[in-house]
């Protein structure tokens, strides 16, 4: 789960990472209230999960109430690369002496955490990595040992941060590591981390991705839900707890397992079709899950045929079949189904489908993944 900047800052604040004084606003009046609370000058920042919002006019400085009204009015509702701004963050503007970069993420190849720190902040770290790789200090952290203040200080010194920033930056890095680990982040990034002329160091931006698998131990994440950009199909799938990604094609896809689902997309593409979605019903899916998946696919008007590709392991064939029969009795499907069913209890599943007496033009079985893909693509283009 990717957080908006203001949510990231609220999350940072829970771990005592200093951020600018400010608050979120959904209307111009709310923006003025937040600006008055924070103290002028303020920055009005569009809350969208896409880069380049400054260039698009989504970040503006305001010296007084009239300017806040003008900028918030312009930014709210603005379309930035397809993302409509529904909320702004209004915060006290900071004087900036220098800008740095710091982040924590998992290095999958090393199987350890990776800290990246640079004196060249405020620009995309990929650009720094490309143009001046030596300017990035990288440190692997064994999760068993954690990050000590000494190790953080060593990295700060290695990155050549000026003496005035050393204590402040070290302190924030240790806190950010705590936020990253105890806060179950996949990514915790501050860019820029700023040094003010007064000598204080603080986080001017926040980029946080939370690990959805850790939701069970973070009741506070409930506050972060609900503002993500999803289309209607994706919302419906999220309510049913399905792994769904909307695409633009005409063949609706339901498969079990992420690998097989991706592979199903690939095969449909290879035989000349295009997938309307990625939908993984996961391991051990029961009849209810299958029925829910079909309802989501059925809500997509572009779908001309439905390809159900199941290879049972933990998922049992008879449950899949029951779900299809159940869904077909519950909803009137707009598109015909082509199913390929193999693996655990596939025989029983096929029998259940036969016994249900569903007409051939509504549901047909194919023996292999490729045959089923061809059949589904041909139905979608007829």
């Amino acid at each position: 789960m990717d957080l908006f900047e203001y949510q990231g800052k609220q999350y940072f604040a829970r771990y005592d990472i200093p951020v600018s004084k400010g608050g979120p606003a959904d209307t111009v009046d709310e923006a003025v209230t937040e600006a008055n609370n924070a103290g002028y000058p303020v920055v009005v920042k569009a809350q969208v999960q896409v880069g380049g919002r400054g260039k698009a006019g989504g970040i503006k400085l305001a010296d007084n109430e009239a300017e806040v009204r003008e900028h918030a009015g312009n930014i709210l509702g603005m379309d930035i690369k397809g993302h409509v701004v529904k909320r702004v963050w209004v915060e006290q503007a900071s004087d900036i002496e220098e800008e740095y970069y710091v982040s924590f993420t998992l290095d999958r190849a090393e199987k350890k955490h990776l800290m990246m720190l640079s004196r060249e902040g405020g620009v995309e770290i990929e650009v720094v990595a490309e143009e001046n790789p030596d300017a990035i200090v990288k440190r692997h952290i064994d999760p068993v040992d954690g990050l000590s203040a000494d190790a953080a200080r060593e990295a700060v010194l290695a990155a050549n941060l000026p003496e005035a920033a050393v204590d402040g930056a070290t302190d924030i890095i240790v806190k950010l590591y705590r936020c990253y680990t105890e806060g179950d982040c996949d990514l915790a990034e501050i860019n820029p981390l700023i040094l003010k002329p007064t000598g204080e160091v603080h986080a001017l931006d926040a980029k946080v991705t939370l690990d959805g698998n850790a939701e069970f131990r973070h009741p506070e994440w409930e506050d972060f839900k609900g503002l993500a950009v999803m289309d209607d199909r994706e919302k419906m799938a999220a309510e049913k707890d399905l792994q769904y990604i909307g695409l633009d094609g005409t063949v609706g896809i339901i498969a079990n397992g992420a690998g097989l689902a991706m592979s199903t997309l690939d095969v449909v593409n290879q035989v000349g079709g295009s997938a309307a979605n990625f939908l993984d019903i996961g391991g051990g899916a029961n009849a209810d899950v299958m029925a829910g998946a079909l309802e989501v696919i059925n809500s997509d008007e572009k779908v001309k045929s439905i390809f159900i590709n199941i290879f049972g392991g933990i998922t049992r064939g008879e449950e899949v079949a029951k779900g299809i029969v159940e869904a077909m009795s519950r909803v009137d499907l707009n598109a015909p189904i082509v199913i390929r069913l193999d693996g655990t209890n596939a025989e029983e599943g096929r029998q259940i489908l036969l016994d249900a007496g569903i007409p051939q033009d509504k549901l047909r079985s194919e023996p292999t993944m490729l045959d089923a893909a061809r059949a589904a693509v041909s139905l979608a283009s007829s």
């Binding site: 999760p143 068993v144 690990d211 992420a258 690998g259 592979s263 996961g282």
Partner: protein, 298 residues
């Protein structure tokens, strides 16, 4: 011969009294696997279909001589279960649990490396391992795996995705090609056992004559495997990488499966493997056909 598990492997099921543990544990036993005990704290002394339950892994090892475990427990308890098995001296732990927080996974992996170097973890979030005719630990339907033939040629399979593992077994069975061992390493960010671990074992296993590898988008495990193959693997290989058509920036179900910043693309992985001499299929069936050609030429 086979890799990691064979007819002498004695398996404990951690969570045998739970739904998944019971269903798959009993299926593993029915396949012929030596399932010698189950572990559920507080239920010691009971049995599941004749299999004795113990309160701890240590007790179970003492009583049964188990040397492998199958951890079928919910995400909250998975790290604890894996470490308990390692502490009791279990040498091979298969964890099928999906949804373990990445922080727990990274910590557990590094603790195993440091404190229990003799324990190998397979998974988490994996389908398990099957050495056909000898041992099946996990959720694979045993009947889709072709038995290895005494004089070969036999194929070793390693895969990052569960259902693609079954698909690969199925493709080989359709063609009557024997399988020495099939390992599902799982799609999580920090797998206990990776492609290279399996490739290295297959290369050294006299019963394995060729290797089929199934990868997917995201991360750099396939690229690292390609480097390893180039330098160390002389047995012929075929591969398929899932996610050729996956859009960038969208997480495709697995925690690991995402193309970000132009890295981890299927094309990049296919190119790296092809450069290492691996024959690349554009779908699982094509990878199976290529393997049939390879085996026919052996």
């Amino acid at each position: 011969m086979a890799i990691f598990v064979d007819e002498n492997t004695k398996v404990l099921v951690q969570g045998l009294t739970g739904g998944q543990g019971k269903y798959h544990g009993l299926r593993n036993r029915d396949y012929g696997t030596q399932v010698v005990g189950g572990v559920t704290p507080g239920k010691g002394g009971q049995d599941v279909d004749g299999i004795p339950i113990f309160n701890s892994v240590a007790e179970a090892v003492e009583a049964t001589g188990a040397n492998a475990s199958f951890a079928a427990v919910p995400p909250k308890f998975a790290s604890g279960a894996i470490l308990e098995a390692a502490e009791a001296g279990i040498g091979f732990v298969v964890c099928i649990t999906e949804g373990i927080p990445a922080q727990d996974e990274a910590t557990t992996f590094n603790r195993l490396v440091r404190e229990f170097p003799n324990t190998r973890l397979l998974g988490p979030n994996c389908p398990g391992i099957i050495s056909p005719g000898k041992c099946n630990i996990g959720i694979t339907a045993g009947e889709i795996a072709e038995l290895p033939s005494a004089d070969g040629p036999n194929v070793g399979i390693v895969s990052r995705s569960g259902t693609l593992t079954y698909q690969a077994l199925y493709e080989l069975k359709q063609r009557g090609i024997g399988v020495s061992t099939c390992v599902g390493i799982g799609g999580d960010p920090v797998p206990g056992t990776n492609f290279i671990d399996c490739l290295s074992e297959f290369q050294n296993d006299p019963e394995t004559h060729a290797i089929m590898m199934l990868g997917e988008i995201g991360g750099s495990a396939e690229e690292e495997a390609a480097d390893f193959i180039q330098a160390n693997v002389t047995k012929p290989m075929s591969t398929y990488i899932a996610g050729v058509t996956a859009p960038a920036g969208k997480k495709m179900g697995h925690a690991g499966a995402i193309v970000s910043g132009g890295k981890g693309t299927a094309q990049g992985k296919m190119d790296a493997l092809a450069a290492a001499g691996v024959r690349v299929g554009l779908n699982p069936t094509e990878a199976g056909e290529l393997m049939a050609e390879i085996v026919a030429a052996l």
